[in-house]
Symmetry: C2
């Protein structure tokens, strides 16, 4: 069964779970939606807690210089949200207000600030672990709002949404074995949540003509696996989690090294919190008190 | 006693509560810091819950058109964070990458996007309650990350931080009486947290030459009251909460009306969550397990 994304978002609003703001992909969340999301967040943290990760929480901004170093601008310029701030005097201020009054672009007085919106929760981690990692590697648990410039009426494609990630840094086989373990954990989580999920090889939305080749290469090497589940459609389920192996990309970029001096490898598993919550309402209905007891048990509802 | 802001932030890092990112005012939070903050957040929500507010949670972005309507650009252009996004083809992309390579400004390809960072947690509320409010008014509980462009080494002046706000919308005396009640509640909260706090008349950091007059006017009319407590200094304590009466400013701007058609009045009480957490570590020490039992009781530590 396929229901239109627009009718699903209407249902979500009618049940007072999401509220439109006038900007596509920016929604207010109700108390219940937020409560469901935070319980899910806690569940995902607890699954990873057995490995005793370092827990870090960052605001959804990263320093511009680190953003440049990360390579994100190379691959996904179309998704970036760069922050600009006012740098002017009273005269420049009057020009800004005049432009607002006349409904013109008022950005002339706003050069780039030193921060960019976080595109994925794990991005602040790599600069933070720069240097030589211990033999057993490192493990970090992060959760953050993330920004993607893709205004859309599909509630599963928000401009700003939360992602809970576990990040592994270490030797290549440390990272790949860890990702295997998380693939099992992620499937187990989906079955505890009674979601009709499956995993599939995937690729990132690389920009431009050269992007197609990068995507094919990524898929061929099995670097990205997504867990998909129905949100607006059974036929075209949506990614609710992804497991990524970056090889030495971030190790090279941020000088993260193994004991032998070679660049560390990294991987991450990221759960899209809003998407999983949407999948739960889609699968189990808008009356949360009637969700299957296994699901309410897992979320401690 | 005055300790330099820089030595306080060094202490916070030594005790692994905050981690620097390389950008002033953008910090990573440790598991314990975050846990303390979320418990405080829950305590502030529970104090307001007796009034049965509507609970709404927004991501830290607001639509640009609403931001323009709010009047924030008029008063505080220096604090704004506007989001810019890429709008170009492969050639424009290559120009961006060339600029990054040569360490030049790469913003040419990034015109303004339709969103601006939220400057205070209550800003998304006013457009959301546009229209005629019921006789008893409305009451909304919000919490959000907020952005202020004021890079600083003072840990109490972060670029991005969380604010928990209760917002009142209604007739003038409804709002002013509600603010009186919250002033008592805020003092009660500070004494439960064993913080050496006091309230004082205050004003906002209005921009420019005309700003001084606005600030004097605001203070004379008693529109802003701040609760201050020591963070880096006993002599110059920092605002940790503020209680604001906006008169009909937002009612006029966003078409929020009383039953008789006149613009609704609004007020808000905002708690700076990171600042209160910092004040707690400052007052009670870096070993949370040794905080006074009244404080750990209030926070359910």
């Amino acid at each position: 069964m396929t229901i239109a994304a627009t009718s699903f978002v209407e249902e979500l609003q009618r049940h007072r779970l999401l509220a439109e703001t006038g900007e596509p992909g920016i929604y207010g969340r109700s108390a219940e939606f937020e409560d469901t999301l935070l319980r899910l967040d806690g569940l995902i943290a607890s699954i990873g807690a057995v490995d005793k990760p370092e827990v870090l929480r960052f605001p959804p901004l990263i320093p511009r210089a680190q953003f440049e170093t990360s390579g994100y601008l190379k691959s996904f310029p179309q998704l970036v949200g760069a922050v600009h701030a006012f740098a002017g005097d009273g005269r420049a201020h009057r020009a800004v207000l005049q432009a607002v009054e006349e409904r013109r672009d008022w950005s002339a007085g706003f050069p780039p600030a030193d921060v960019v919106l976080t595109p994925a929760a794990c991005y602040p981690v790599y600069p933070a672990v720069s240097g030589t990692v211990p033999t057993e590697g490192r493990l970090v648990d992060v959760m953050s709002y993330c920004y993607r410039h893709e205004p859309s009426d599909d509630p599963a494609r928000m401009q700003m949404f939360r992602m809970h990630e576990h990040v592994r840094i270490g030797a290549p086989d440390t990272v790949t074995r860890w990702r295997e373990a998380w693939l099992r954990r992620a499937h187990d989580l989906m079955s505890r949540l009674a979601l009709d999920a499956r995993s599939e090889l995937a690729s990132d939305p690389f920009f431009g003509r050269g992007g197609k080749l990068l995507a094919i290469n990524q898929r061929d090497q099995g670097l990205k696996v997504e867990i998909v589940a129905p949100i607006a459609s059974d036929d075209a389920p949506t990614a609710v989690a992804s497991l990524n192996y970056h090889q030495d990309h971030f190790g090279e970029a941020f000088g993260i090294r193994l004991a032998d001096g070679s660049p560390a490898h990294t991987g991450c598993v990221g759960f899209g919190l809003e998407r999983i919550v949407l999948a739960l309402y889609r699968a189990h209905g808008f009356d949360r008190s009637k969700w299957p007891s296994s699901v309410s048990g897992a979320l401690q509802l």
